[in-house]
């Protein structure tokens, strides 16, 4: 990320190892030629393997490398200087633009043979001083000068000078805008911190394919993170842009569809200097595929018939190309660039296919004059340009004036007219990040006195004076009182916010030092008091976790180093690698329906202690009673907790009647009916219909629970009996009980089936 001199690397520089000769993939004759070029005089007499062995040594030999360097011409050395500028590897598209812009080669003419043209890149490739990356070993000239992604020999790069930066000159000068907007790095960092705070800090979350947040999580994030919206140019799914940046910098880890926040990485990243952070934001933006400029969150899969996103590889290449153009702007005059002129200059610099994809619907729909009447233009450059502006130009506008403004790289402004005239220039931070390594970050180093601390624990922060690390440090121990955009933000140190900061690993002394260092007005005594009070209160109640608890005799020797004696019975030891709990899941209780609980021989401390909290002694055993459960309830122990403990320590299923009793004793008790009922049981459908459809009997029926059963009001029993006798029914048959049904499998017993049914059935006589 930074050069050995402490400066930022070029924004498109890549640290990944790159150059590989790949001699094993060459044929024997080519190996011999290469070995000879690298100084092996007997190469023609050698077989392939000895040639490869020789090359392996020669490529690392400084003397041989120097010889090769001396043999190169000026333009070839200039190409290597370009590679050095980019850290050793350059994408084919960027390389082609660099070569053309520096005049090291020209666009191939129609019908011109590639081998006849003077092209130092191709010459270096033929000598294997530039190696193709990955599988992209070919290039084609259909779209003009074109190369695969290439890496240069590292030994030659050490000798080469870094190529000078390319500048940028607008083809049309523009007046400064009347209204301007700019975001500071501290504002962006606070947005990222807000989104990180709104994500679950402990548990994982399930996202979508590709690692994007689910729709529900996005909505929740938008509600809780409250990232200030940027009017008047909309940036869709702004919170998700922050999320993808966090993902790109490694603060969010995604495996498959599961996401996880890495709080330590968040803190470590957000404490870095503004320029270092901003460089990582841009790198993350170039790489992100699930959020697209002017579109927002996009799905992982596309529909070729009806695309829903820009093709990710093309978007990545386009972002790289736009970044390349902006690196040139960073070395320009620093004047304002109006949007129309910039698009024209970008098209000229990047070529017709430098930024090339198929998409035309953006959140910020810009009305470009050049696109009006494009269909009537004759086929040629102007018509192509008009179509390009309509599609890719819209994306550039959304990326520059939306995304890059949001990330603090661009200052934007407008002049009112019939159509607002938008223009931009790089912010000081943008010039540093995009102008690296030549532009020093001294211009954006912040962190002076940017705070005013009030006695009522309010802190006013002037974000234009704050570095992003300082702003996020403040947000760790003080809550933002307002989410409005602006450089003066009010924070408030509350007991909860200070406590959260202390729990995250910050010490009270560090907060005091920070406030003293950055406050313009000192730190009021009231604030110091709140800090020391919060720290003292926190120390007064400590939850120690993951420890081993060992019973010890009173006469045991003093505890070992690192261990701690608690009274004369227990020793606390630091938790070591072992996992799993001993004592929280042992099946060592035997309980019966009457609530008697017997401890078996292997009962341990946790099982015994739990039992003691809700049962009472009954000679050698324990007993769960209404009184013991009432005592447990007074202690706050719920029936659910007791049943959970019973289930954990009971070898088999806990008797349902005991579970029901625990719930009933803990209250409220399950209600049930126990009493006398008058029941008619019939044998035939005829009898059933007679009773069911009788206008006289029907009002006396309470319910009809089964096809052959009628429950009658007890006080009407005699009248029903007379009614049945008058109609000749043979009363006096025995009651035929239906088959018992099994209760559904559940931890909770059903009282209706478990309780003894003592209702007296009125038999038919």
């Amino acid at each position: 990320m930074t050069t050995p001199g402490g400066r930022l690397q070029h924004i498109l520089a890549d640290d990944r190892p790159s150059y590989e000769l790949g001699a094993r993939h060459l044929d024997s004759a080519r190996c011999k030629v290469l070995a000879r070029q690298w100084g092996c005089k007997e190469a023609t007499k050698l077989r392939k393997e000895p040639c490869i062995a020789y090359l392996a040594g020669a490529l690392k030999d400084p003397a041989r490398v120097r010889e090769r360097w001396n043999a190169l011409d000026t333009s070839q050395r200039a190409v290597l200087s370009v590679f050095k500028r980019y850290g050793g590897r350059v994408s084919g598209e960027i390389l082609a633009r660099e070569i053309l812009s520096r005049g090291l080669a020209s666009e191939p003419k129609t019908g011109e043979y590639a081998w006849k043209r003077k092209d130092p890149v191709e010459e270096l490739r033929r000598e294997h001083l530039l190696a193709s990356l990955g599988s992209s070993s070919w290039s084609h000239a259909y779209y003009g000068l074109s190369y695969p992604n290439l890496a240069a020999h590292p030994g030659l790069l050490e000798i080469a000078e870094v190529a000078a930066p390319l500048g940028w000159k607008a083809s049309n000068a523009t007046d400064p805008p009347r209204v301007t907007q700019m975001r500071y790095a501290s504002e962006v960092a606070l947005d990222l911190a807000r989104v990180a705070d709104a994500l679950p800090s402990v548990e994982e979350w399930k996202g979508l394919s590709g690692g994007a947040l689910s729709k529900a999580d996005r909505a929740r994030l938008a509600r809780t993170a409250l990232v200030p919206k940027t009017a008047p140019i909309p940036v869709p799914d702004l919170e998700c842009l922050c999320y993808e940046v966090l993902r790109g910098v490694g603060a969010v880890e995604v495996r498959g569809v599961m996401g996880r926040l890495r709080p330590e990485r968040v803190r470590q990243f957000l404490s870095q200097p503004s320029a270092v952070q901003c460089r990582a934001w841009v790198r993350a933006w170039i790489e992100m595929s699930m959020w697209q400029d002017g579109i927002g969150v996009v799905p992982d899969r596309d529909n070729p018939q009806e695309p829903v996103r820009i093709e990710p590889d093309k978007l990545r290449a386009s972002r790289e190309m736009l970044t390349w153009a902006l690196t040139r702007v960073a070395h320009g005059t620093g004047d304002w660039l109006d949007m129309d002129t910039f698009l024209r200059d970008l098209w000229d610099a990047a070529g017709e296919h430098g930024i090339d994809f198929y998409w035309g619907r953006y959140a910020w729909d810009v009305d470009f004059p050049v696109t009006r009447g494009r269909d009537s233009l004759p086929i040629g450059k102007e018509r192509s340009y008009a179509y390009w502006v309509d599609r890719e130009g819209g994306w550039v506008a959304n990326a520059v004036f939306g995304t890059l403004y949001q990330l603090g790289l661009v200052e934007r402004g407008s002049r009112s007219g019939r159509r607002p005239l938008w223009s931009f220039r790089l912010s000081p931070l943008g010039r540093v990040v995009l102008g690296a390594p030549e532009v020093s970050d001294e211009r954006v180093r912040r962190g002076g006195k940017f705070l005013t601390v009030q006695p009522n624990q309010e802190v006013v922060a002037y974000l234009d004076e704050a570095g992003s690390g300082e702003a996020t440090m403040l947000a760790r121990f003080a809550e933002a009182s307002s989410t409005s955009a602006g450089v003066a933000r009010t924070f408030r140190m509350t007991r909860a916010s200070v406590y959260a900061a202390l729990e995250s690993g910050l010490r009270a002394e560090e907060i005091v030092v920070f406030l003293e260092q950055h406050s313009r007005t000192g730190v009021p005594a009231e604030v110091m008091h709140v800090l020391s009070d919060s720290s003292r209160k926190r120390e007064a109640l400590v939850l120690r976790e993951g420890l081993h608890l060992v019973g010890s005799r009173a006469d045991a020797p003093p505890s070992k180093p690192g261990c701690r004696r608690l009274g004369d019975r227990w020793t606390l030891e630091p938790g070591r690698g072992a996992t799993g709990l001993t004592g929280s899941g042992a099946a060592c209780w035997e309980a019966d329906e009457e609530g008697r609980v017997r401890l078996t021989g292997d009962a341990d401390l946790v099982a015994s202690a739990r039992l003691r909290r809700f049962a009472e002694r009954d000679q050698a055993d324990w007993r769960v009673t209404a009184e013991s459960i009432a005592t447990a309830r007074e202690r706050g122990i719920t029936a659910e907790t007791i049943v959970r403990w019973l289930t954990a320590h009971h070898p088999g299923p806990v008797p349902p009647s005991l579970v029901a009793a625990v719930h009933n004793w803990a209250g409220p008790a399950d209600g049930l009916f126990l009493g006398e009922l008058c029941v008619i049981q019939v044998r035939s459908d005829r009898a059933c219909r007679a009773i069911q459809e009788s206008l006289e009997v029907r009002p006396w029926i309470i319910s009809h629970p089964a096809p052959d059963l009628f429950v009658i009001r007890p006080e009407r029993c005699a009248e029903v009996e007379r009614w049945l006798a008058r109609r000749g029914f043979a009363l006096g048959e025995a009651y035929r009980p239906p088959a018992m049904t099994e209760p559904p499998p559940s931890d909770e017993p059903r009282m209706e089936t478990a309780s003894p049914a003592r209702g007296r059935a009125k038999r038919q006589r």
Binding site: L541, R544, L547, T582, G636
Partner: protein, 95 residues
């Protein structure tokens, strides 16, 4: 001095009722447990007598240290915070 000793004895009696002292069984060792530690016995009695927090305590290991129900550490922490406490969370055994 005498009043202080009386107060300590009173606290201990209260504690014995609320949160009995846990006795080690032979060779008893429990792995990966959480304990809560307060400044004095009165604070522990205060915790144990409050059903919101007391429900998560199984017994006391000393006059200022109590064993937390395994598996209920997070819920205990939430209960403490909801009750206005600001507990320090650590993996140290303490002084």
């Amino acid at each position: 001095m005498g009043a202080r000793v009386d107060s300590m004895n009173e606290n201990r009696t209260t504690l014995d009722n609320l949160l009995p002292l846990l006795e080690p069984t032979s060779g008893s060792a429990v792995l990966h447990v959480a304990v809560v530690e307060v400044r004095d016995a009165a604070d522990l009695a205060g915790l144990a007598s409050d059903p919101r927090m007391g429900r998560f305590l199984l017994g006391r290991l000393s006059d200022t240290v109590a064993l937390v129900d395994p598996g209920a550490e997070e819920a205990f922490l939430v209960a403490l915070r909801d009750a206005g406490h600001t507990p320090k969370r650590t993996k140290d055994v303490g002084p």
